[in-house]
């Protein structure tokens, strides 16, 4: 066992896969010599050499295009897009090309690639460097999407993503980079499409993702002091979605709350709540409630950003008011 930060886990996960498979390579802006602007890829250039770990110019379309072309001809590239907001700059390659080419060619091409990006807010970077865009990814058929919430999941889900034969968008939560937690030694490989129950509780079910997962757990611990016991489910994988676990945990309690960092409209929780309404309506004891960032760009100042992104306090007060009106 070791204590590892989320950011250290990124390098460890990439290294684990690069050691295992020569066709795994890493490209991105400042990923090699500088070890990444968030220091997530420190040591990889030294370990694997300049042929396998390569810096690129500021050319998001070129970066994703290179990953796609390499993937279709036998390689397993990992491409970094520095901030997930920048997906808007190379959206054509991801949404129109990578996501659709296997389908359009009736299966002639495969794209075993991973695109990782720093996602989410809380660091006062302002509206163009703080977005949570997992819901953009979820909306495009042909992309798999995972969002780990701790160091162990970073390694496990990254390994699963690299080994997956399909394109996977791997969103790292910037706010979690410094968070330290226990990680077992040795190889860690997880499974895409699996959610994890972080905490059991019989009164209500909280569904959370990414940075909202530790906040949901904190809120659940606080709510337990007032006698409201919550299950917290860490969704982890939006596509493929572990609907079985989600629906089981919601049926059990009959009350569901989502905690989403993305803006309100068409957030990932909107889809999940829609599925809940269709498939376990008869187990609901009250309406589903979504706790989200409002439908606004994110402000920069401390107090403003903290008021926008769901906090543990807001989760607690929303659930309390709903369960005990």
């Amino acid at each position: 066992m070791a204590q590892l930060t989320y950011r250290e886990a990124i390098a460890r996960g990439i290294a684990q896969e690069m050691r295992r498979d020569e066709s795994v390579v890493l490209i991105g802006e400042d990923v090699a010599a500088a070890g990444g602007v968030f220091k997530g890829t420190v040591g990889l250039l030294e370990a694997f050499g300049p042929k396998r770990v390569r810096d690129t110019p500021i050319s998001e379309q070129a970066i994703l295009g290179a990953a796609m072309g390499a993937a279709m001809t036998g390689m397993r590239p990992i491409a970094e897009i520095m901030f997930s907001d920048f997906f808007a700059v190379c959206w054509d390659i991801l949404a129109n090309q990578v996501a659709k080419s296997r389908y359009m060619t009736a299966g002639q091409m495969s794209f075993p690639l991973v695109v990782r990006a720093g996602n989410g807010g809380g660091l006062r970077f302002g509206a163009q460097h703080s977005q949570s865009v997992e819901n953009w990814m979820m909306a495009i058929p042909g992309l798999k999407v995972v969002v780990p919430s701790d160091a162990r999941d970073v390694i496990g889900l990254l390994a699963a993503a690299v080994r997956d034969p399909d394109p996977v968008v791997f969103l790292e939560q910037k706010a979690l980079y410094p968070v330290r937690s226990e990680v077992p030694d040795g190889e860690i490989v997880d499974t895409l499409g699996t959610a994890t129950v972080r905490r059991p509780g019989g009164d209500a079910t909280i569904l959370a993702l990414g940075n909202m997962t530790p906040r949901a757990v904190e809120a659940a611990d606080e709510l337990a002091r007032s006698g409201i016991e919550c299950t917290v489910v860490d969704i982890r994988s939006l596509v493929p979605l572990d609907t079985r676990t989600i629906l089981d945990e919601v049926s059990r309690t009959g009350r569901v709350f989502t905690v989403e960092e993305n803006p309100r409209l068409c957030g990932w929780g909107a889809e999940v709540v829609s599925i809940i309404g269709e498939e376990v309506f008869w187990d609901l004891d009250g309406p589903p409630v979504r706790i989200t960032t409002p439908h606004i760009p994110l402000p920069a100042a401390d107090a403003l950003e903290d008021a926008a992104i769901p906090s543990a306090e807001r989760i607690v007060s929303t659930i309390e008011k709903t369960m005990n009106p």
Binding site: W282, D285, G286, A307, R314, K321
Partner: protein, 283 residues
């Protein structure tokens, strides 16, 4: 920061949450009148769970016990002490609905449906009598007495009738009737009725006191539905005479299990459902 949506006016048709409604349905119970613990008196799952637990404990007379093991065949009485009571039912509203159905229905399916709902509110009518016990069944296995091919009467059973709505119930009854007339019934089809309905309408009789099966607490007969003059309230205190289809429901019941007050309450509930419910929603 986020403005909470205003809570909408309580939907008066369904005061129970989806979970609560499912639990009620599975237990064969009607929605209780008492408010639940949810917002604005909504009935929640936990409310239904306690309601079921206490309904099982309620007894209508002090010397009766609910024996979960069921009546001992050895202590089945030789004959029930049958009492009979009747009530007139105005089938006016039903008549309009049943004729507009895709395949026109008779009155019997409506009566069967109203009976099933009535039994949910008066569970002791859906019961068997033992020497010392009355056994209340939760599901309603509804016997429907029909003419058999051989010329006598036979009572095939619609199992779990409480889980069927009008259209399905009508279909099940029609299927069983056809099979009875084709002499196509199995022994299993005629066993286990917890309550029986007979449609005597085809014979043209006004009123019939059905014979109770062994151990059966109660049975209902439907007389012929005929056009009759009735008094209809046009304005408060002002009556006019109209011609409506009217039929009689006759209830035979074993007085050892339920008393006249309870039986009358059940009959009134059935009549009320037949006369006042908006049946078009079930078609």
């Amino acid at each position: 920061m986020i403005v909470a949506a205003e809570s909408r006016r309580l939907n008066t048709r369904h005061r129970a949450s989806p979970r609560a409604r499912r639990l009620l349905r599975e237990a064969g119970l009607a929605e209780p009148d008492a408010p639940g613990s949810g917002p604005e008196g909504r009935i929640l799952g936990a409310d239904v769970e306690s309601f079921i637990a206490s309904a099982a404990q309620n007894a209508t007379a002090s010397d009766r016990r609910n024996d979960p093991a069921g009546p001992d065949p050895a202590d089945r009485p030789a004959a029930g002490v049958a009492v009979f009571m009747a009530v007139e039912v105005d089938f006016f509203r039903i008549d309009r609905v049943r004729q507009s159905a895709a395949a026109p229905l008779g009155c019997l399916p409506f009566v069967a449906r109203a009976v099933v709902d009535g039994l949910a509110a008066f569970p002791y009518v859906n019961a068997q009598v033992g020497e010392q016990t009355v056994h209340v069944t939760s599901p309603v296995h509804l016997g429907v007495t029909v003419d058999s091919a051989a010329g006598g009467l036979v009572t095939p059973v619609v199992r779990e009738a409480n889980s069927l709505r009008l259209a399905s119930l009508a279909q099940r009854i029609a299927t069983l009737t056809d099979r009875a007339q084709a002499d196509d019934l199995e022994p299993a089809d005629v066993e286990g009725a917890t309550f029986t309905v007979s449609d005597c309408g085809p014979h043209g009789t006004m009123l019939t006191a059905p014979v109770l099966g062994s151990a059966q607490v109660a049975a209902l007969g439907l007389g012929a539905v005929r056009a009759k003059p009735v008094a209809v309230v046009r304005e408060p205190g002002e009556y006019v005479v109209a011609v409506h289809p009217v039929g009689t429901l006759g209830l035979s019941f074993d007085q050892r299990a339920i008393d006249t007050g309870y039986a009358a309450g059940f009959l009134d509930r059935v009549r009320g459902a037949l006369e006042a419910r908006d049946w078009s929603t079930e078609l």
